[in-house]
């Protein structure tokens, strides 16, 4: 029975495949990359939070970030599935059913550009992908020159309760480094260490960055001013731009950079 299924699938997938791939984009950043390199028409399915560009919202959903609904996925007759983690439940089954699995999980800013190029090759949109990556690289290259706030000590508040921040070897840590900022918990060997107010106080940050969907930091700003003193600067960033390792990353980094220019540290 299983063999028959596989055979049928292979038959199904073999014929239209010559024209183009049928892609499952199983992470928000993958979705954005594919649309940016002109492979949007070949994406047949996505997962929750794949909300950019607008066309991606109309795609059928085949699961969430941590679970794939095999039946819904297979019904879309995919040829390629692009995932962040091959260990996600459902990915193995997809692979067994003849879907090619490609992994994309950029952990550094440079890896975002590399993955855009790689997805371009895989999907046959190499030229456009190279152009996109090249343009992003140029924007990335000019950033440190523009940033004059060198070596600002930053506490990046990923989540207020429990208080989580970004540790060493994380994507956010790398983004901060590219902007000339010093992550005060950059030495902690965990992905999202839970910290407490005392350790933040002891780390003596000059700036607190609060990612917020609503871009409202009044509550957090009050909170940190209470502990860290009136001098502490609190700014917010759009997490969809800065945490999603996709082509809009540079939009997020530039927006953060503009905010950094506007800060004044009198000392």
């Amino acid at each position: 029975m299983k063999r028959l299924c596989v055979l049928l699938l292979l038959l199904f997938s073999a014929f239209p495949a010559s024209a183009s791939e049928r892609i499952l984009a199983l992470a928000p950043h993958v979705c954005e990359m594919l649309f940016a390199i002109g492979a949007g028409d070949e994406v047949v399915g996505a997962v929750s939070y794949c909300d950019y560009p607008a066309a991606a919202k109309k795609l059928p959903r085949v699961g969430t970030y941590n679970r794939i609904n095999i039946e819904a996925a297979i019904a879309l007759r995919p040829t390629v599935a692009i995932v962040t983690d091959a260990a996600t439940p459902g990915v193995k089954k997809l692979s067994a059913l003849g879907v090619r699995i490609v992994r994309s999980h950029p952990e550094k800013v440079e890896e975002v550009l590399a993955d855009i190029r790689r997805l371009g090759e895989i999907t046959g949109h190499k030229q456009q992908a190279d152009q996109v990556a090249f343009a992003l690289q140029q924007r990335l290259d000019v950033l440190p020159a523009r940033t004059n706030q060198k070596k600002l000590r930053v506490f990046y508040e990923i989540w207020p309760d429990p208080l989580l921040t970004a540790g060493k070897n994380t994507f956010i840590h790398d983004v901060l480094k590219h902007l000339g900022l010093v992550n005060v918990f950059g030495a902690v060997q965990m992905e999202a260490p839970r910290v407490n107010v005392e350790s933040v106080l002891a780390a003596k940050p000059q700036l607190v960055i609060v990612p917020s969907e609503k871009r409202d930091v009044s509550v957090r700003s009050q909170y940190w001013k209470k502990w860290l003193g009136e001098d502490i600067q609190v700014i917010t960033v759009n997490p969809d731009l800065l945490h999603r390792s996709g082509p809009r990353l540079l939009d997020g980094m530039e927006a953060l950079d503009v905010q950094l220019q506007g800060l004044n540290f009198e000392k």
Partner: protein, 316 residues
């Protein structure tokens, strides 16, 4: 007369132990700060606005959990009983997570949800209180399973980020209790006094229900009072700090092994010992992998289990 003296010595010993541990816990943290002379303003803020409230919360919550555990163990006649055995923690968690779903940014709503949830759970259990201890325990365990299932359902519907809050709440957090600390300490004192008043009846209950009745104890009324008291204390502890496992199970046994099973002594020792263990566990939780922090529930088990097993072997 001699008994009286012993009791005072006993309390004095515990107060001294708590005092010593509190001073060490105050000093320990990101870096050592002497509780007597913090060198600057920031250090005194860390000492008195961050560490001190947390230590007091840990003391009160630990004491309450240990008291509730001791009561449940007599009430149900089962050494495996602990404050959460009848599903009060489960229903509190359901309430807290429901609160998080409706108002994700409010600590108050979460605590209110936990408190209301705990009382819904208590009401459900109370309606079985006329059954014997075995059936009451069975009903409680089944109810706990139901709350667990509802909790899983709610968490499956929570967005990705809400999950973090829910997990953190369920592992216990002493850093920001939404209940005022004076209230927690007052409840601790009140619970201890109630316990001491009831302690002679509890000793008789330990002999079995028939013997207790023959000795003039109104068993069914005592059981109801005890159930209500233990549940109320659990509800307050859960509201203040989420669910912290292990203290309620192990501390009463630990105190029985150390000081014998007379309830006056067990309850007194549990109220102090539970607080002591939770202060130690929480201090470890915030210092072991500093600057990051561990969930306190992990530490209560890591510290409590070896001590308990060692005593169990030694006293055989």
């Amino acid at each position: 007369m001699r008994n009286k003296w012993n009791e005072q010595l006993f309390i004095a010993m515990f107060i001294a132990a708590v005092g010593g541990v509190v001073i060490v816990a105050l000093g320990l943290g990101e870096h050592w700060i002497s509780p007597w002379n913090p060198s600057n303003n920031m250090e005194s803020v860390i000492l008195w606005d961050i560490r001190w409230p947390r230590i007091l919360t840990a003391f009160a919550v630990g004491g309450l959990l240990a008291l509730a555990g001791a009561w449940f163990q007599v009430l149900l006649g089962n050494p495996l009983a602990e404050p959460y055995v009848l599903g009060v923690a489960g229903s509190a968690a359901v309430g807290a997570v429901s609160g998080m779903m409706i108002f994700p940014d409010s600590v108050w709503v979460t605590s209110m949800g936990a408190f209301i949830g705990a009382w819904v759970g208590i009401a459900a259990v109370l309606s079985f209180s006329h059954l014997g201890p075995t059936r009451l325990l069975l009903a409680g365990v089944v109810l706990a399973a139901l709350w667990g299932a509802v909790l899983m359902l709610l968490m499956a519907m929570l967005p990705e980020r809400g999950l973090m809050l829910a997990y953190a709440w369920m592992m216990g957090d002493l850093s920001h209790s939404s209940l005022p600390i004076w209230l927690l300490l007052l409840v601790w004192l009140g619970a201890l006094c109630c316990g001491l008043v009831l302690s002679q009846s509890l000793d008789k209950l330990l002999l079995g229900e028939r013997h207790a009745e023959a000795l003039g104890v109104d068993v069914s009324s005592l059981r109801k009072k005890l159930l209500l008291l233990a549940s109320a204390v659990t509800a307050v502890a859960v509201t203040a700090a989420g669910t912290i496992g292990f203290i309620g199970l192990v501390v009463p046994h630990l105190m029985r092994l150390l000081f014998g099973s007379l309830h006056k002594v067990v309850l007194l020792a549990s109220a102090f010992g539970g607080g002591l263990l939770l202060i130690i566990a929480d201090t470890a939780a915030r210092t072991v992998i500093s600057p990051a922090e561990l969930p306190v529930g992990v530490l209560t088990a890591v510290i409590g289990v070896p001590v308990f097993l060692w005593l169990l072997l030694r006293r055989r």
